[in-house]
């Protein structure tokens, strides 16, 4: 079974395969760690999508460098292109749905660009107003449960409102 004629070209291919597979495994483990450790739906999603896509793409490219025939290379490139097109679209769809459902942002989130852009009654996105420090009227009534005290950071009021970047500190303040 192992009596294939081993030339320098095949050794180059084997080394490339091993390197790509190891890089892919490393990034896959990194994606799982990011999925486990990130504090938020959106941060979890960006960790999973970017690192996972890179890991799976490296492994499919390793298939192409192992069998160096034309059809296998073309098919693996097709798989990689399809993966790189569909994965950002899927993560964008889930992020949009998660924001509409109202899954909570991390307590240390400094700035929410879509705050006030989503009308919960008509289920439409309209043009965003400029961020103001007026928090008396919250334009997102369906999403404010439990996190009404989150501030939109502007340049004017950075003396009195300290940005809450640490989750444990904000949790101890809340309790």
């Amino acid at each position: 079974m192992n009596e294939v004629m081993v030339t320098s070209v095949t050794w180059f291919n084997y080394t490339l395969t091993v390197l790509l597979v190891l890089i892919g495994g490393f990034f896959s483990v990194l994606a799982a760690v990011g999925l486990l450790r990130m504090p938020d739906v959106y941060t979890r999603m960006q960790a999973a999508t970017k690192a996972g896509t890179l890991g799976v793409g490296c492994m499919v490219l390793a298939v192409a460098t192992h069998f160096v025939t034309l059809d296998v290379v073309l098919e693996s490139l097709l798989v990689i292109v399809m993966l790189f097109i569909t994965a950002p679209i899927a993560s964008h769809l889930i992020a949009r749905a998660a924001y509409f459902v109202g899954s909570p942002l991390w307590d240390g989130t400094a700035y929410d660009e879509m705050r006030g852009c989503y009308d919960a009654d008509s289920h439409m996105l309209h043009n965003c107003p400029m961020p103001t420090s007026d928090d008396s009227v919250d334009p997102r009534p369906s999403l404010v449960a439990g996190r009404t005290s989150r501030e939109v950071m502007t340049d004017e009021d950075d003396e009195d409102t300290t940005p809450r970047r640490h989750p444990d500190r904000s949790r101890s303040q809340a309790s």
């Binding site: 892919g24 996972g52 069998f67 097709l78 399809m82 899927a90 769809l93 889930i94 899954s103």
Partner: protein, 114 residues
């Protein structure tokens, strides 16, 4: 039970294993098995997030990443058993994964509508 019957019955098993053995040099096989172990660890992490994700979009993200790791496992097996036909399985599985994730996202958006 007759001893010869037992031996003749279980003598089939090593022959099946020998025909299904892996191909390629031993070093590549060892690296591929190690990477399969790493993928198993990553899939266990995804399963933990899938089971205790606080909201439904968390579970959808975990399911998406789990399917992508399944695509990676199929690619590793294509190298390991020396059959590049399995790349077609990767292609179809990625497409079905995208369709499933898009369907989940549309379902979530429709449920958010009052």
């Amino acid at each position: 039970m007759n001893a010869s019957l037992v031996s003749s019955t279980f003598a089939i098993v090593p022959a099946q294993i020998e025909t299904a053995m892996f191909e390629g040099p031993i070093a590549i096989q060892a690296v591929l098995l190690i990477v399969l172990g790493m993928l198993a660890l990553a899939m266990i992490g995804c399963l933990v997030r899938l089971l205790l994700g606080p909201t439904l979009p968390d579970r959808v993200v975990a399911l998406d990443l789990l399917g992508m790791f399944a695509v990676a496992v199929i690619a590793i097996f294509a190298i390991l058993i020396g059959r590049p036909v399995l790349l077609s399985v990767c292609l179809i599985m990625g497409l079905i994964l995208f369709l499933g994730t898009a369907a989940f996202a549309l379902y979530l958006e429709r449920r958010a509508r009052p």
